[in-house]
Symmetry: C2
């Protein structure tokens, strides 16, 4: 697989979260546990959860935030890519729902979805970078928004404790000749023999309620076989990262910052240990937001930029795994 | 919008349909109508409908058909893009479900979804062409599979009469220097102020059954405001096509064949009339398959190739509209 360098630049990022906060202390109380138990066990202090918000309304807010930070306006954007893990509604696609939410601000631009569960943002950035570098689109808005709240089994501690809702966006354009910003290399692969280890069965044609008389509600819930997923990712991710670094022709110690998908406390800690990455170089927003599903990776990227941890010219890495099972990584110069 | 020519070649296509056939005569009988009424009114003689089949199982069959016709094997394919209008299940994404269905045949390739409702195939081909031309992927399998059956309101004649289930795939690779095959130009735009004119509300986080106590079943059904959609498409498509032809630097009479999304009898007839395209140059498989949603456009393409109506070196056009509202077109040399 050839990995031509793509001369693109992230020129703005933004985020949005629902209004309502759910603290781990509230979950402690709900499960009758000593205060502090959920945070200690799962590493998430608080997460946001949607009440009136839709994925499209959060996405639109994140886009507006990214535009303001980039100093751009909607008329500068000629393509919007929705890169969420889940659908807002079955039809039309997420990008249409977001452009609809934007009303007169973004009329008649190109809009479509790129999806690969929790790595949708990484895959969308990877894919669209070729079109931006070739000049097909000038400024592309990539936005991820997921509302996990309603698909969670709130009687199960593990799931209640980990996931949060949110949206994050990034605008990319072609780098100017005097800018070092680029994608050095990227890797994406799907280990689909493990597709059933992380799934929501309903929502499509396979388990349509008109198709079976099985109790429908349980099919709408998220299920994850954590230990099995963890084994696959532990086994495969080091190889993928080594291959990625080789493709980028950089050594791990030249990577200033690693922006991982915020899967769980265990996954982030394991990343540091198994891949031998100094924890200080790993962006970790899990405690404050939980695992925001597809929005998790771009949210972490946004906070790294907003907190000035990622600076122009620095080499950094996006890395993660998600349902599919999908593994992916990218080395960029910011 | 720059439209650099992309040197890619469609080197194989394939299709798959469910076993069960539903004739329009059977629908005549169901609604107590004189035999022949449904065909006369809607122009569909028969369509296939899924019973035991899943979208992923149909997709896998269509992929195998395309491989056989291209004289390739699964080990030649390094990327699979699922380009369906609807989800197989909510999580993981469609491409993972398809690769899972393929089992040991396609292990650990890159796999992801590109979605834009009924134009997903066109948008996927348009997008991935840049990656193929740049050498990122060698042979990409693009596959669309939709099962509309369970989302249809079978008490409504119009919907029962039009839609069919199916899958279609195409393999693309970079053209060799002695091959003329390429994309000359492409256009995609979303008129999202009309997103609600064609939708399925349930299936995602917006109308999750855990979120409301409204009767859920009606939310899982497809709804379309045909006349309003028709007005938008009639108004906008001629301009898009003129712009597309200008970008491709070809005149309409140099376009040997037009492969449209098989939306409806009315839409196909209107295409001929409004865009002044000779009906003999329009690929029309509606009578035998109905509107196969996302699989409709690549199925029509497949039949044009299999029936030898599209020959190497000929300039042809993909064209259509879908929920979103999405408009798109592409001029290629086959």
């Amino acid at each position: 697989m050839k990995n031509s360098r793509r001369h693109i630049r992230i020129c703005g990022t933004g985020v949005a979260v629902p209004e309502n906060v759910l603290t781990s202390e509230a979950i402690d109380r709900r499960f009758g546990l000593p205060i502090g138990t959920v945070f200690e066990r799962y590493g998430v202090r608080a997460r946001r959860y949607a009440k009136h918000e839709s994925a499209a309304s959060l996405a639109a807010k994140a886009c507006d935030d990214a535009l303001a930070r980039a100093g751009l306006e909607w008329r500068d954007i000629d393509c919007l890519v929705a890169a969420s893990a889940t659908m807002d509604q079955a039809l039309p696609y997420n990008a249409a729902m977001i452009v609809n939410e934007l009303g007169n601000r973004a009329r008649h631009i190109a809009a479509f979805d790129i999806g690969a569960s929790c790595l949708s943002f990484l895959v969308a950035l990877d894919t669209i970078s070729y079109l931006v570098d070739c000049g097909r689109y000038r400024n592309v808005m990539i936005v991820s928004a997921d509302i996990a709240t309603f698909s969670l089994d709130w009687s199960t501690l593990g799931e209640s404790a980990i996931f949060g809702d949110g949206a994050a966006a990034a605008i990319v354009r072609k780098s100017r000749p005097d800018e070092a910003s680029c994608i050095l290399a990227s890797r994406v692969e799907t280990h689909a023999e493990s597709a059933s280890h992380c799934h929501i069965k309903a929502g499509g044609s396979r388990y349509h309620p008109a198709r079976s008389d099985v109790d429908f509600m349980p099919l709408t819930l998220f299920h994850m076989d954590g230990p099995r997923l963890f084994r696959i990712v532990s086994r495969e991710l080091p190889r993928l990262m080594a291959d990625l670094l080789e493709g980028a022709m950089v050594k791990l110690d030249q990577v200033r910052l690693v922006v991982p998908h915020q899967a769980s406390r265990l996954a982030l800690d394991h990343l540091a240990k198994r891949l031998r990455i100094d924890a200080a170089r790993i962006v970790d927003i899990l405690a404050d937001f939980g695992n925001q599903v597809g929005a998790s990776l771009p949210s972490a990227l946004h906070h790294a930029i907003a907190d000035n941890r990622l600076q122009r010219g620095a080499t950094f890495m996006l890395l993660g795994s998600g349902a599919g099972v999908t593994l992916g990584g990218m080395v960029m110069v910011y």
